[in-house]
Structure formats: structure tokens, C-alpha cells
């Protein structure tokens, strides 16, 4: 009887089992996140603006109608027309072409400087949150000191020492972004390190380095991604501001802030010189702000104000 039962069990079932591909929980989580994000129309609009500028930046060499540096003195300060959609500047250079190439610079500066800020901010925040005690006190005081410089001033102080250039702007804006990341990562690390799974991993013999970077870091990335996106907006604005002050890109580089700065001398005769670069900065920053807000709501609703 028992043998028979065993035989029965081993026999293939008459109905073929349905093939359900088990989905990885991470994939499910991303699907839920995307669904949530898709619902947020403002975030999608922000994403579309970012995508638009990304395409413009990548395709600039192909779609730009003119060389952004080509001087045409016979055609200077021309108002917008079919030949020059956004007009020309004081040296006769095509403003549309300069704006298209400027997108490369602005996005590049934003990404590089936020990466610098995120890299150092994450490491400082992880160490402060994980180790606590004097390491936390030391790092937290250091962050307090960096935050004591209002707005653009820390970046200006660094540039005053290093000298004006785009690379120095990236370094300065990067350092300016460190405290934001460090604070967020520290807070998240403090709450994650108390979780049971961290104790479990530690009792299995994992070292601190592995616990911090393999087990804690991936679990605190959501607020970092949100902050990174919002910070890109600030970084682009700050970099443009520094170039406007003559501390970043130097003429004739087609940088939006620098273009605004030279355009301001012709506000009377040719207001389009200052109008279009400003619009470009405002829309790209708006895109990152909208997308960052949407990401925050989808990834980390607790942060929603």
C-alpha cells in the first residue's frame, strides 16, 4: 500500500503545471516604484524635460545649425529670425548653437559635481552613522562647519584660492554638496544599523567594511537618489551663478551662466542675449526639481513635506 502510494507520488501529474516565472523581489519593487512614479504627472513632465536636454546635449554636434564659437561680426546682435532662431550675440555667434552645446556643459558640471559631493558625503555619513562616538562627533562637527558657509560662499571661497575655471567650479560645487549627502546618509545609517539583519550578519563574522558597503549602503540608497536628483538642480544653478560672476567658464565657452553675464551688457539693444540662456537654466533646473520631487514621493514617502 505504501509502495503504491510512493509510486503514485512519483508519477507525473496529468495536468501540466503552469509555468509561473517567479519574479525577483527587487524587480517587483522597481515595478511598484515605476508604477507609483508614472502616476505622478509632474514627475513625468520633469523626466521628459531632463530627457529632452539630454538628447539635445548628446546630439548638439549634429543638430546645432552653426559652430558655437564661429564669429560673424557682420551679423552681430541679430534678433531671432529663420536663420538664427534665437538670434546672435555681440560677436555674431549663433545663440541656439551655443545653448545646445551649453547643455553638455551644464549637465556635465551638474553630474560631476554631484558625484563628487555624493561620493564623499556617503562615505562620511556611513562612517559617522555606523561607528558613532567620537567619529560621529568629529564628522558631524565638520559637516556643521561646512554648513556654516551660507549658500554659494563656500564655493566662492574655494574658487578664490584655486582660480576661476570649470574644473574648479566642479570641485567647489562638489564640496558644497557634501554636507547634504553626509547628513542624509548618517541619519539613514543610524536607523538601519539597529536592524536585526545587521546583527545577524555581524554574528556570522562579517567585517565592518562588508557590513557598511555591502549590507547597509544598498538599503539607504533611496534618499540618496532623491537627494542626488534635487541636488543636480542646485549644482547646475550654482555653477551657472559662478560662471555669471566670472568665476567659472570663461568667454567664449558656450556656458549658460557666462552667456547671461555677457548678455547683460546688451540688455538695452538685444534683450534676447540674456533671455534664452536664462530660460534654458530655469527649465532644466525645473525638470530636475519636478523629477526629484516625484522620485521622493515614489521612493521615500516619509520625506514628503
Amino acid at each position: 500500500m505504501s509502495n503504491q502510494a510512493v509510486k503514485m507520488d512519483n508519477q507525473p501529474s496529468l495536468q501540466a503545471p503552469k509555468k509561473i516565472k517567479p519574479s525577483h523581489p527587487k524587480v517587483e519593487r522597481w515595478k511598484a516604484f515605476y508604477k507609483q512614479l508614472k502616476k505622478n504627472k509632474m514627475a513625468m513632465a520633469g523626466g521628459a524635460i531632463i530627457l529632452f536636454y539630454l538628447i539635445l546635449a548628446v546630439a548638439a554636434p549634429v543638430i546645432a545649425p552653426y559652430d558655437p564659437l564661429a564669429i560673424d561680426l557682420g551679423n552681430k546682435l541679430a534678433t531671432p529670425s529663420w536663420e538664427h532662431w534665437m538670434g546672435t550675440d555681440d560677436k555674431g555667434r549663433d545663440i541656439l548653437s551655443r545653448i545646445l552645446y551649453g547643455a553638455q556643459l551644464s549637465l556635465g558640471v551638474g553630474v560631476v559635481s554631484v558625484s563628487i559631493g555624493a561620493f564623499f558625503g556617503i562615505i562620511l555619513g556611513l562612517f559617522a552613522g555606523y561607528y558613532g562616538k567620537w567619529i560621529d562627533t568629529f564628522i558631524s562637527r565638520f559637516i556643521d562647519v561646512l554648513l556654516a558657509f551660507p549658500g554659494i560662499l563656500l564655493a566662492l571661497a574655494i574658487i578664490s584660492a584655486l582660480g576661476p575655471s570649470m574644473i574648479n567650479v566642479m570641485i567647489a560645487v562638489g564640496i558644497f554638496s557634501i554636507p547634504t549627502f553626509a547628513r542624509i546618509v548618517r541619519g539613514s545609517t543610524l536607523s538601519v544599523k539597529k536592524m536585526e539583519y545587521v546583527d545577524a550578519i555581524r554574528s556570522l563574522g562579517a567585517n565592518d567594511f562588508k557590513i557598511i558597503f555591502v549590507h547597509i549602503l544598498p538599503n539607504i540608497l533611496s534618499p540618496v537618489i532623491v537627494q542626488g536628483t534635487l541636488r543636480l538642480a542646485t549644482a547646475i544653478l550654482t555653477a551657472a551663478g559662478l560662471s555669471f560672476l566670472g568665476m567659472g567658464a570663461q568667454p567664449p565657452t558656450p556656458e549658460w551662466g557666462a552667456m547671461l553675464s555677457s548678455g547683460r551688457n546688451f540688455l538695452w539693444q538685444a534683450p534676447h542675449l540674456a533671455t534664452f540662456p536664462g530660460l534654458a537654466i530655469a527649465t532644466i533646473v525645473l525638470g530636475f526639481n519636478l523629477f526629484g520631487d516625484g522620485l521622493r514621493d515614489a521612493l521615500d514617502p516619509r520625506l514628503k513635506q
Partner: protein, 306 residues
Amino acid sequence: MFVFIARRIFQMIPVLLGVTLVVFLIMQMVPGDPAVLLAGESASDEQVQQIRSQLGLDEPVVTQYFTYVKNVAQGDLGTSIRTNRPVIDEILTRLPITIELAFWSILVTIVLGLLAGIISATKQYSFSDISLMVVALLGVSLPNFWLGLMLILYFSVKIQIFPVSGWGTFMHVILPALTLGTGGAAIVARMTRSSMLEVIRQDYIRTAKAKGVKERIIVYKHALKNALIPVITVVGLQFGALLGGTVLTETVFAINGIGRLIIDAIRMRDMPVVQGTILVVSIIFVLVNMIVDISYRFLNKRIDLN
């Protein structure tokens, strides 16, 4: 409360020392010999050496830092290379202008931000709520130096109501204060809206409504008072952004305040002025933050002061 204030002042000291250290270290990174810069290119080696020992530049860096802190504590920020005047005098001449600009700008931030936030919250999801929040989002994203230029273009160049640049009369204040204050107003508006919406849902508001208290009294007397607590922190933080923003706004409107002093000094490589100005502005910011923090705790009595 007294213990709390004393502790808060005590906590400020290491931050201020840290600020002096960062400013000192940044200036150490400046290429070139400050003694040569001060003495001028035509100076002899002896003169350069004399200036070096006069300023203590031949001392070890640590000694130089302690001398620097001691001098700063006594109000000695060095001498401007360009004008040969004490840096503190240069700053004190320009500071009142920047403080006046900051005052009017923070007023714009508070008044516009609160009004927009209250209207949005009391008329949630209405046309005015949505349009105000869209404007607020635009306000956060606009580069203030561009907004300043556009205001000049329309109100000074085209309509010619306000002066293009300068400082002195009330008419000079309006455009720069709007330029500097709108970014903060947008943030305050968003914060006030969410804070008000949270408070409006509380039981005591519902009770007030059930008792037949007028809508206006509920909004301004009961809801706003409690909703303002988190807004104060945001206003305090905005003051920092505003102090930093004066650099750009003063450049756009050619106002001879602290912000322009920094930019001119960086351009002229007048490092003592750069160093002193950044230090003074940061100290003001730290002090304002402390006052905001204390008033926040004072207003929100639920927070344990210890």
C-alpha cells in the same frame, strides 16, 4: 531655558573655530607668496622678508593659525592689499547696505511665502492652489540673477518705473529685494501649505469648526499659529541662502554691499578682504541660525529643551 541658551552658545564656539580653520586653510591653498603680493613686484628681497616677518608668515602654519584666530577675536581681519585700509573698515562700510537688502528680501520671502501658502492650504486643489504651487515651483527653479536681469529689462528699461542700478532710495530697494526674496518665498509657500494642511486636519480645528468659530479666526488664530513653527526653521535656513545670494543680486544691480566686495576682492586677488568678508558673513549666518533655533524651541514648547 537659560541653560538651553547657554548650551547653544557654547555649541557655537567649535563651529566658529571650524569656520576660521576652513577659511585659513583655503587661503593657504592660494598660489604665490602673500608677502610678495603685498610688497608689490618692484620690492626688494629685503622688503619682502620684512613684510613676511611682520605678518608672521615665516612662523609655522599652526602658529600662524593661532595668531589669526587671536587677531580675529580682537576684530583685526588684516589689511586690504588694494586700498591699504583695515579689512574690518571695508566690511563695516558695506555691511549696512547688505543688511538692509537682506531685511527687505526676507520680508518679501515671509510675506509672499505665507500669503501664497495660506491661500493654497485653505483652498486645497482649487485653481488658485494649483497655480500658486506651479508658480512656487518655478520660483525655486529660477536663477535669481536671471530674474533680476528680467526685472531690470521690464521695469527699468521698458516701463522705466524703477532705477536700473544703485542704492539709496526706497525705489532702489524693490527690484533687488524681489530678486533675492522670491526663491525663498517659493520654499516658504510650499512649507506653509503642507504645514497648514497637516494642522487643519487636527482634532482641535474640527472642534473649533463644530463650535461654530468663524473660518477666518480658525485659519489665522488657531491653525496658522501652530503651522508657523516648522516654517520658522525654513525661514532661518533661507536667510543663509539669501546671504549667499546677495553676491549675485548685488552684482546684477551694481549695489556696493558685502557681496560685491567679495567678488571685487576675488577679481583683484585681494585675499585678506576675501578671507575677512567670507568669515564675517559666515559668523552672521551662524549667529542667525542660533537665534532661529532658540526662538523655534521657545515657540514650540513641546520640544524638550534638555
